[in-house]
Amino acid sequence: MNRTLLLIWIIFPLYSGLVQCESRPTSAKIEGKTMQVTVKRTGGFTGIPLSKTIDSATLSQQEAAQLQKMMTTADFFKLPSTIPSTPQPDRFQYQITIDQEGKQHTVTVSETAVSANLKPLLNWLMAQPAQPKHD
């Protein structure tokens, strides 16, 4: 009886460890940091909102590096919370939120006021697959 229990104590954790190793995605952390990025688009003629979330843990090393580069180009964490613009009818509004190791920042910007520095990041985010709506 004792030996069986002992075996279970030894083997089970080893087995669990192996299983976890197999199921962990081969992916990158950016400089050891994890990051979550959400973009929400509202407005437009249709008025239908769209939301996309990207977890850096699901990205390849290359993609993660690309994302970091675009964030740097945009100087994202230094952008104002609301980029000012004159509202134009039927234009999209974007809300980008980046959560990086406890540091969080949200930027709201109209389609009309997206700078050349922010555009690559926004385009990349919008190109990610959309999630179906939950009702």
Partner: protein, 360 residues
């Protein structure tokens, strides 16, 4: 016909323009605007285009005044269609001018014809000469952006995307979209409804209402024959829905796994009070949309004739830029009284409609 109210008595928002430059007074030579168009950034290009348009308009008016043929300036459409070729530079390559040959590109023809039908509604029914009531050119750009699920009026022209093909078709496919965008221009030159909150929802509603009237008139439909839908035909095959919005039954236009459910309320008590979509301008427009529908159905016949007229006169002569739904109700009821008499059937229909949606 109701004579125009004195516009200076109402605060109006003006079309986008450089506040310190009067293009008519200091005419920029063409080679300069040309250079700016080739090398400037988006803002500068927009200014140069606007300058050229206003100068052209001015020259047009001078010729007409010189010939003492004022009547000839009304009824004259000036349409131009451009192709942005999947880019975002406006206006793009000129592909069709007024009176020009039909294009092989269906989007070009739809933009051209839809602008014409919109002009005709405003001109024939409301005696309005184009977006600004002074014969403003109607410029449209098609194939804007890549898989762009949108259309808009940018203060100077209409812009249409091709849609992504999975959720949306090209945006010129529905004539009411074209009427909607041009009506944003009319609103800009008239009440100037601020695009936020209830005034923004009213702005959206006028655009939907007159977009719908353009479609109804192009099909010669009575109120009973009209489908009262906005963007029917815009949803790609396989999408669960008939249109983007319904004036007849707000909230029922679509219910799809990717798009979600049509969020429009029919009743004021169910209005959206959040901050998205500039305070829900595309959501709460369902309420005044439905009021228009109810008044039109009560009155019968062609919607553009009586209720359409009331709505137009309200937009042109009564509403201020910060109007809310309650003010809009007052304004339409007042306009109805002026046009058809106090306690007339028409005024009663309008009054009942606003009561039914819970605004009054």
């Amino acid at each position: 016909m109701i004579s125009r109210q004195n516009k200076s008595t109402r605060a109006k928002s003006h079309p986008q323009e450089s506040s310190h430059i009067c293009p008519i007074c200091c005419i920029i030579p063409p080679h300069m605007t040309d250079h700016i168009i080739k090398h400037g950034n988006e803002e500068m290009r927009a200014w140069a285009m606007e300058t050229m348009r206003r100068s052209e308009q001015f020259r047009g008016r001078r010729e007409i005044v010189g010939n003492i043929a004022l009547a000839a300036s009304t009824g004259q459409k000036r349409r131009t269609v451009y192709d942005a070729r999947q880019g975002e530079t406006l206006p793009g390559k000129l592909v069709r001018g007024e009176g020009g040959r039909k294009s092989k590109d269906v989007a070009v023809n739809e933009a051209y014809d839809g602008a014409g039908a919109t002009y005709d509604l405003y001109h024939d029914v409301f005696e309005r000469n184009s977006v600004d009531d002074r014969g403003l050119r109607m410029d449209s750009t098609v194939h804007y952006g890549s898989q762009y699920d949108n259309a808009f009026w940018n203060g100077n022209q209409m812009v249409y995307g091709d849609g992504d093909g999975r959720l949306f078709n090209r945006f010129t496919i529905a004539i009411d979209v074209i009427g909607h965008e041009l009506t944003h221009g009319v609103v800009q030159y008239e009440a100037g409804l601020v695009y936020q909150g209830e005034s923004g929802a009213l702005n959206e509603s006028f655009a939907d209402v007159f977009g719908s009237l353009v479609k109804q008139r192009s099909l010669n439909q009575t109120v009973a024959q009209a489908d009262w839908l906005i963007g029917a035909g815009l949803l790609a095959p396989g999408v669960k829905g008939t249109a983007l919005r319904s004036l007849k039954a707000p909230g029922t236009a679509y219910n799809d796994p990717m798009l979600g459910k049509d969020p429009q309320p029919a009743l004021y008590k169910n209005r959206y009070t959040g901050s998205q979509d500039s305070g829900g301008v595309h959501i709460n427009s369902g309420i005044p949309n439905h009021a228009f529908y109810l008044a039109a159905m009560e009155t019968g016949g062609f919607a553009w004739e009586k209720i359409g007229k009331i709505w137009y006169i309200t937009l042109r002569d009564v509403l201020r830029s910060n109007a809310n739904f309650s003010k809009a109700a007052e304004a339409t009821i007042s306009a109805a009284g002026q046009l058809y008499g106090q306690s007339s059937n028409e005024q009663t229909a309008v009054r009942k409609a606003w009561q039914a949606v819970g605004v009054t």
